[in-house]
């Protein structure tokens, strides 16, 4: 359980981090500006899966499905409707990810532990095969490219995205999502999820409909993952089957374990750590960066299961 600190300390820290992230694009050079935006997007994806891994104790190896369908949903809106509309892309992306989440949740939540993990992995392979082979609609291996929509805010008119406004837009969405997720995990609903993680038979015995809670948890998690997908689509203007592939789900699990499961902020830190590590190591090792990452990951599972954040917290408290 998270140690209760005084709310003022928490909100001060929150405000400082938010302010730092807000001024980041103004002071950072071009490359790092884009990098910070990307960390925020992957961080949102990591947070979304933390609901399952950290809070409910269900390891999902299928988050690439929701993320990928968010991207493809946004792509569908941006390609089919002229002129491309940001909010329509959001709606389509969330609908696609949400529908997939309902489907996956219905089947996979009947199972526990490793069976759940394998089933989500199998679903991610199913969606990958469908998207990879359905060339007429999804563009197959080549994926889809599309135009970036205008940033249109109700009452404020529309403007082209600049790197700064894109960053602030992403920051806004991620911050609101974080606050929502935090509220959810602290609500009675979130408490039930945590009690499922701690002792599922007992939670059932108390009288909670465990299956229903799990289905809602998977759906919520899928929706936020789809949101991250939409942001990614808006930033990068292309959709590719690789985003639906298992490798992405694996990375999300790595973010969670490295940063600290069940903390929401931890997975974001994990994503930042992972991406920085990749950036630093891949200059020398190209794609072999996953060798040191994998070794660190395995060592952390064995020796530091509470992740970087949990480890830091414990050291600070000593």
């Amino acid at each position: 359980m998270i140690a209760r600190r005084s709310p003022t300390a928490y909100w001060t820290g929150f405000a400082v981090v938010l302010a730092l992230l807000a001024i980041a694009p103004l002071v950072l050079p071009e490359f790092w500006r884009r990098f910070v935006t990307e960390i925020l997007i992957w961080g949102l994806l990591a947070m979304s899966s933390d609901i399952l891994i950290g809070y409910t104790g269900m390891v999902s190896f299928g988050h690439s499905v929701f993320f990928g369908l968010g991207i493809y949903g946004a792509a569908a809106a941006l390609l089919s409707v002229k002129p491309p509309n940001l909010w329509l892309a959001l709606l389509y992306g969330l609908t696609a990810a949400g529908t997939a989440a309902v489907f996956v949740a219905y089947f996979s939540t009947r199972l526990r532990d490793i069976y759940f993990a394998i089933t989500t992995l199998v679903f991610s392979q199913i969606f990958y095969v469908i998207i990879f082979t359905w060339t007429a609609v999804t563009g197959g291996e080549n994926g889809l490219t599309f135009a970036q929509p205008l940033l249109s805010l109700p009452g404020l008119g529309a403007a082209r995205f600049t790197p700064e406004t894109l960053h602030w837009f992403v920051l806004g969405v991620v911050t609101v999502s974080y606050l929502l997720l935090r509220r959810i995990t602290q609500s009675p609903f979130g408490m039930v999820l945590q009690s499922i993680r701690e002792n599922e038979p007992r939670t059932r015995a108390i009288g909670y409909a465990v299956e229903r809670y799990k289905i809602v948890a998977v759906m919520l998690s899928g929706l936020f993952a789809g949101l991250a997908g939409v942001l990614y689509a808006v930033q990068n203007k292309f959709a590719a089957p690789d985003f639906v592939f298992f490798a992405v789900s694996g990375e999300v699990v790595i973010f969670n374990v490295m940063g600290g499961m069940g903390t929401l902020v931890g997975p974001v830190a994990g994503a930042a750590f992972f991406l920085l590590l990749r950036e630093g190591v891949s200059r020398y090792f190209t794609e072999y960066y996953l060798i040191p990452v994998g070794i660190i990951f395995t060592a952390m599972v064995i020796f530091m299961p509470q992740g970087l954040l949990g480890f830091a917290k414990r050291r600070l408290n000593e």
């Binding site: 532990d113 069976y115 394998i118 992995l121 072999y288 395995t298 064995i302």
Partner: protein, 290 residues
């Protein structure tokens, strides 16, 4: 659309051959799960490493049988080392941590293979080049040989489990870890040994599969997934069920590839898995209760 009978028969033979190789992979996986509740996510990567070890040995010596032996021994020792260093500390913790740890191992092994042997597929030269007439096809004898060899390895292993002294240790540990330990069986070493045997069987299937599909660094995930499916459908820890499920799934995939592309035929096995989990969560054959 009607499918000619000879094509169906050819796919039946193909399905049986693929099924036996898959059964060899899956029996190692189910054994490891049955004895220490570890879902080995890196099992397919052990198949891949075995294939590469075999390919390297063949390139050096030119002898397929020697390569098979070397690959099995090397990967078995490697598996034992892997188990002792990464899985032994996790014994008794949440089974989810073992899936995470083996997932990390799989990542490392795959990228190591990419680094060491590059992204292109390696083909192993088959030891037997003869063919026989199967309807309109020249069917290679080697395919039949792999099925027979896989069956022989599984059969030999089954006899060992049934009658060998260490086989009895393994079955005892599987039934009751604490009791076995109380009877003087060195349970941690049994775990390591079983992991080594499973890894060796995976390596054998990698070498046997080499001449058929080639060895690539990213073949592991596919093998892991299919072996998982087989193990779940056959019942976790149930050796006979796994063999039956491996053949069943391979046959279904072979028939499906008559109608759709082989890439899509994979979905058939996924559907079998989901249906099994929904209606028979303990597998088609309920395993002997622990």
């Amino acid at each position: 659309m009607s499918i000619p009978l000879d094509q169906i028969l050819i796919q039946t033979v193909n399905g049986l051959v693929n099924g036996m190789i898959l059964a060899l992979v899956a029996s190692g996986l189910t054994l490891i799960f049955g004895i220490m509740d570890v879902v080995n996510f890196a099992h397919g990567d052990l198949v891949m490493l075995g294939g590469f070890t075999g390919a390297v040995t063949i390139a050096a010596t030119g002898n397929f049988w020697l390569a098979l032996l070397v690959a099995v021994l090397v990967i078995a020792v490697f598996g034992a080392a892997l188990q002792a260093t990464t899985l032994r500390p996790l014994l008794g913790r949440d089974p989810l941590t073992t899936i995470l740890a083996t997932f990390g191992i799989s990542l490392v092994l795959q990228k190591y293979a990419l680094w060491q042997w590059g992204p292109s597929a390696r083909r192993i030269q088959e030891p037997l080049t003869g063919q026989f007439q199967l309807f309109y096809l020249q069917y290679p004898w080697y395919r039949v040989l792999t099925a027979v060899l896989s069956a022989a390895i599984i059969g030999g292993f089954w006899l060992f489990l049934r009658h060998g002294k260490y086989g009895i240790w393994i079955r005892a540990t599987m039934q009751d870890r604490i009791m076995a330990s109380a009877m003087g069986i060195p349970v941690p070493w049994v775990h390591t040994g079983v992991f080594a045997i499973g890894a060796g069987m995976a390596a054998a299937s990698g070498v046997l599969f080499g001449p058929l599909g080639g060895v690539t660094q990213n073949m592991g995930l596919d093998f892991t997934l299919r072996a998982f499916i087989v193990v779940v459908v056959g019942g976790m820890g149930n050796l006979g069920g796994s063999i039956f499920a491996a053949i069943l799934i391979s046959l279904l995939e072979a028939y499906a590839s008559l109608v759709v592309s082989p890439a899509q035929a994979v979905i058939v096995s996924f559907v079998v898995l989901i249906l099994t989990l929904l209606f028979r969560p303990t597998g088609l054959f309920v395993p002997t209760p622990k």
